[in-house]
Assembly symmetry: C2
DNA sequence: CTGTTAGCGCTTTCAA
DNA sequence: TTGAAAGCGCTAACAG
């Protein structure tokens, strides 16, 4: 293997000069640089990144922990993340826990051993807050609060919940069924505390922010007196559960006339509706929550509450880069920033109460599965 | 940072002994091992993987190059790949070219610089064969032939094409429309050679094996005298194109009564059909090719030609590991091997003509979008 | 601007 | 079974 010394010898310079040329940082005269470049070319020199990593004590690798890359939501988010990270000179190590049937700890250990420069944590895990804080390496959480000083980024789900409920409230829904994640995640940041799904309104943070969508949703429905029920999906990584939940919704609540569900579940609901001869949106309205491409495939264009995947990804990348010592976050082009926006943008971001946390605004894309004829602005102004 | 020397000092042994204990390979007395372990615990020692990588000249990282992780097909494949690689002690670096708007060469350079131990190449690239062979580092291709000695793994698409055509032939289709990838990839392994889509039958390899599906499909249809047309998708990474292709199929060929299409396109075809009041499968039959979960979401259960994602992933992982010097491939449990099998398994794998190449058998899952009432065995035995 | 030099933390012969 | 020691290839002071 031809190394720097060889190049240095060939060019008649020292290794440090070669290093400067390769990395293009320090001051090297043009002549010298040229001479070295020629030597590199002659010898077919390829820098050894392992040695470089070892020396710098960095890998430029970021672990992206998610439940499964199969799921369109996480696939879409991961695509945005990979792009945002790439712009910052970082590469993505895929860490989908359900796909490899592994605990999160495997990947955290890689972080500890410095195999990665940081981690974006977007999967469920059972560790107490001090597990995370004791790691003392760059970690940023997606849609969850891990512990004291670990930043968190996620969509503004209270806004999303409010939007969904408003749509139903203004289109004369009577019985809404919501399909969503496990209730065991209904906990406050101050410790595990189970929360009734009844009439209460939570103060403070939940450890699992998407739950705020449910709460806002519920609250808004109650204003209008719409009856609603909840169907729980235990494991987001198992697609079967989305189908089962959809089936259950129709079996258990024959009089339902409105559904909000993660778009995978929403797609199955469409199928159930077709099969049972329920007309959409005349007889039954459906809102897909998340807004991955699946909401476009489901037999008709679903109205959906969109997450701003690129916005989330950029925020995550920024938070992570800021947590890596010696790194600076370079903002992407303005043109790129807007790429994720589709449909109607709403409120600006509001800071969460956890340090470094960010809420990314959501938006609505009206499709064929709801009855609202006007614009979203119309809807909101009539609130 | 506490390193091996510290542990060695604490335990009163040499660093090499500590190394042996950490890696659990050499011969160390139980007492000594225990003493060292205690010391590690006391000092909270965490091995530095960068130093290890540097020393071993390995990273245990594999780059998975695909067009986009957004696409359900590649997401599913990547999930299987990640699992297969994890079992071999390798981690996955996500390299989706369209998501980061980068050329394949960026990732190949990483391979050259030893930032990864190998690459699985599943995206389109324009380089000549000698580009790939000159790299002289572990590379395995998915569904394409790159160059002389680079192994290739992919589904047996001629089988898939034959299956699809047989289904149509036996259910009285008259006008079949096929939606598929770019025709410019219709090249033989012996060099770029464009191939008419007319009546000819190709001898030899195409550089892009999925094309064989088209050829087999066409050939089988001709036996029955079924009229057919082809609609081309230029860029697989752009989902819009799938929708457009679906729309185009109905506009251009109003009398079509059968469609084969990648499942994303198939899903949009269902939507078009609904919108136009075409009854499925009575009036129009649809076969989804690939068989990712999308074929279950599309408003009804689509009949699909399935790729064996786990089978493909295991073969890719095996080929790659065998190409990495000093690595041995350990076969996964029998239970895991079958995980990917769904529907009806068919012919066994047939070796391709390129060294190290493998063809993974495909299968059929009958859904609601075709009219065949019997089993697949019935269908094939009536051939 | 360029060269000298001292590591980075671990693996791996080779001796003892 | 354990220890001593020589790197692995590059970076980054520091000196010139």
């Amino acid at each position: 293997m031809v190394g720097m010394r060889d190049v240095a010898r060939e060019a008649g310079v020292s290794t440090s000069t070669v290093s400067l040329v390769v990395n293009g940082n320090g001051y090297v005269s043009a002549a010298m640089a040229e001479r070295v470049s020629q030597a590199m070319k002659r010898l077919n020199y390829v820098p050894n990144e392992l040695a470089r990593n070892f020396s710098r004590n960095e890998t430029d690798l970021v672990g992206v922990i998610i439940p499964t890359i199969r799921h369109p939501f996480f696939a879409t988010l991961t695509a945005s993340l990979q792009s945002a990270l790439y712009e910052q000179g970082m590469r993505t190590v895929l860490c989908s826990t359900a796909d490899v049937d592994q605990d999160v700890s495997q990947y955290v250990d890689m972080l500890r051993r410095r195999a990665m420069d940081g981690i974006i944590m977007g999967a469920h895990a059972v560790y107490p807050a001090d597990y995370w804080s004791s790691i003392e390496r760059p970690i940023v959480a997606f849609d969850r609060f891990l512990g004291g000083s670990i930043p968190s980024v996620g969509s503004d789900h209270s806004q999303g919940g409010h939007l969904a409920a408003s749509l139903f409230a203004h289109t004369g829904a009577h019985h809404v069924v919501e399909i969503g994640g496990p209730r065991t995640l209904y906990q406050t940041a101050s410790g595990p505390r189970s929360v009734s799904l009844g009439n209460i309104q939570i103060a403070g943070q939940t450890t699992f922010p998407p739950i705020r969508y449910h709460l806002a949703f519920e609250q808004r429905l109650q204003q209008t007196g719409i009856h609603y029920d909840y169907i729980e999906i235990e494991n987001v990584a198992q697609m079967e559960q989305f189908r089962n939940a959809a089936h259950l919704a129709f079996e258990r609540y024959p009089d339902l006339d409105a559904i909000v569900a993660p778009d995978l579940a929403a797609a199955f609901c469409v199928q159930e509706a077709f099969r049972r001869g329920r007309a959409i949106p005349g007889d039954l309205q459906i809102i897909a929550y998340d807004g991955s491409y699946v909401s476009d495939l489901a037999g008709l264009k679903l109205t959906s509450i969109l997450q701003d995947f690129d916005g989330i990804a950029n925020a995550l990348a920024r938070q992570l880069l800021q947590a890596i010592p010696g790194r600076v976050y370079r903002a992407p082009d303005a043109t790129q920033r807007q790429a994720g926006q589709e449909g109607t943008g709403l409120n600006g971001a509001r800071p969460g109460s956890v340090p470094g946390s960010e809420l990314i605004p959501m938006s609505v894309k009206l499709g064929e599965s709801t009855r609202w004829e006007g614009s979203i602005e119309d809807l909101l102004s009539s609130e």
